[in-house]
């Protein structure tokens, strides 16, 4: 184990937020799920006892009598806000003093440099560069993510779980969101921070980052396994493989939704449902592509003169 290197990674100004997230995410997940389980228990109780449900509001929230107390802005609120502002400022100063802002050599257009790592929140997208064409990873995927995030309220319209934590009533929505957040964002950022060394090479934890290590990348495309050589045949083969896989995946998602979430299927209109299935397909495809590349060295499935997937 290379402790010195581990410390260098953890204390690099760019990486500190990831290290923070490593602690904050489990804490808030624990907190959220603790509240959710509490509420779920209450919901079960109320469902079993309709008489109780009449008198008990289902919107149970952690409640403290003192919280309803109102106070004047001055001095109460301003005092607290001032104190909090001081605390946050002190925190920022300490962070700033220990992790000074870096500055490298001046820009030199004649000396090509492989830019180091993207900021921590873009590491997931940078990792995608390994699996997709640059413009797909850098332009298409971010746009899908943005649109997908913004579309959530249009797809997730059930009134249950509004304003209180619950797992029972929202398993599917929360599961999907957590998959996106934990696997597609956080896990990839962690890989980008701790696993990807110089030149974006893969180093196992503990391995020393040797910038001069030579890796013989074996990259095969799926059509090469089948010995297809003609450009057009390659494109058609890849198209069938990719679109066929997408169709099968879509069918599977559709089947699973109808089977396990029939009420969801019934409530949605065609447009909502199509988008839901579409976004789910996208989210599942990313890890599939990663497994193909990392596990089987298969770089592209669909090679055409214009784009590769």
């Amino acid at each position: 184990m290379d402790w010195k290197q581990l410390w260098e990674i953890c204390s690099a100004p760019d990486n500190v937020p990831i290290v923070l997230l490593l602690f904050l995410t489990p804490f808030y997940l624990w907190y959220g799920f603790r509240e959710a389980i509490k509420n779920d228990r209450l919901i079960t109780q109320l469902e079993a006892d309709p008489a109780l449900a009449k008198t008990h509001h289902r919107r149970h929230q952690p409640y403290h009598p003192a919280w309803d107390k109102t106070v004047h802005v001055w001095p109460y609120l301003l005092r607290i806000e001032l104190l909090a502002a001081l605390v946050v400022t002190a925190f920022l100063c300490i962070w700033a003093i220990y992790l000074d802002a870096p500055l490298e050599e001046p820009a030199n257009p004649t000396l090509t440099m492989n830019p180091a790592k993207a900021p921590w929140y873009f590491l997931g997208l940078q990792e995608m560069l390994v699996y997709f064409d640059p413009w797909i990873a850098g332009v298409i995927l971010p746009n899908i993510i943005v649109v997908g995030l913004m579309a959530i309220p249009y797809m997730d319209t059930s009134p249950l779980g509004n304003g209180y934590y619950t797992w029972k009533q929202r398993k599917f929505a929360l599961g999907g969101f957590l998959f996106g957040y934990l696997v597609l964002w956080l896990a990839l950022a962690i890989v980008g921070t701790f696993i990807r060394g110089p030149g974006w090479m893969w180093f196992w934890p503990g391995q020393t980052w040797d910038a001069h290590r030579v890796v013989h990348e074996v990259n095969i495309h799926l059509h090469e396994l089948f010995g297809i050589t003609d450009v057009w045949e390659i494109a058609i083969f890849g198209g069938i493989a990719t679109l066929g896989f997408t169709a099968v995946l879509g069918g599977a998602v559709d089947f699973a939704l109808r089977k396990w979430k029939p009420e969801l299927f019934r409530k949605m209109n065609v447009i909502q449902y199509a988008h839901l299935v579409g976004f789910l397909i996208m989210m599942i495809r990313l890890p599939v592509k990663m497994v193909l590349k990392l596990g089987f060295d298969i770089k592209y499935v669909w090679v055409t003169p214009w784009f590769n997937v």
Partner: protein, 201 residues
């Protein structure tokens, strides 16, 4: 503000639990305020031109009194702002804050604020125009240029020509210090309006 108006604001009753730390949205706005103040201070010395830019940041870091601290706080607060903005999105989803009459607007603004902070960070990181910044901007622009149809045109606008040029730096700076603060101001303002009407807890 008139004296009566001031008294009204100061005497306004608020829920005792509506405090700073129980309300990360406020913390995020405060941090954004820290960014505006430190950013304005940096802008006193910063020069958005290829070689001058690097020298001015060097000056800020080495010669200007407490310049290094202002710069480091600008970077630290930027990181915390992005973290908090992401947290606000996750929290809004878990609480299903996007339901209700104003929920949709709240959700779009929350996601928008997060994206805006990412854009702030991304443009800000390019400003020192050191090797890392220059090549990162180049790689990003090339990747945009690869996009079919609109890519080359958009990349041309970003770069200010066929190659990465000083114009690109000025545009990044204009976006970072003029355009996006303005958008952020309206986002926060709109958020506060929604919040006052009780849509966000």
């Amino acid at each position: 503000m008139s004296a009566a108006g001031l008294t009204r604001v100061l005497d306004r009753p608020v829920l005792a639990r509506r405090t700073f730390l129980s309300d990360p949205g406020r913390t995020a706005v405060f941090l954004f305020g820290v960014e505006v103040v430190t950013g304005a201070l940096l802008a006193l010395y910063y020069q958005p031109a290829p070689e001058a830019s690097f020298r001015s940041v060097q000056l800020i870091s080495n010669a200007v009194t407490f310049g290094w601290l202002v710069r480091a706080v600008h970077l630290a607060a930027a990181n915390v702002t992005v973290l908090l903005a992401a947290y606000l999105v996750v929290r809004a989803f878990f609480r299903r804050a996007f339901l209700g009459p104003r929920g949709l607007g709240t959700w779009l603004l929350t996601v928008g604020f997060f994206l805006l902070m990412l854009a702030f960070y991304f443009t800000g990181e390019a400003l020192p125009w050191d090797q890392d910044a220059y090549w990162r901007a180049t790689v990003t622009a090339n990747l945009v240029a690869d996009t079919p149809l609109v890519g080359p045109w958009v990349a041309g606008v970003l770069r200010g020509g066929a190659d990465m040029s000083g114009v690109a730096l000025v545009r990044l700076y204009a976006a970072h210090a003029i355009l996006m603060p303005w958008v952020a101001y309206w986002t926060i303002k709109r958020m506060r309006e929604l919040m006052r009407r009780g849509a966000i807890g």
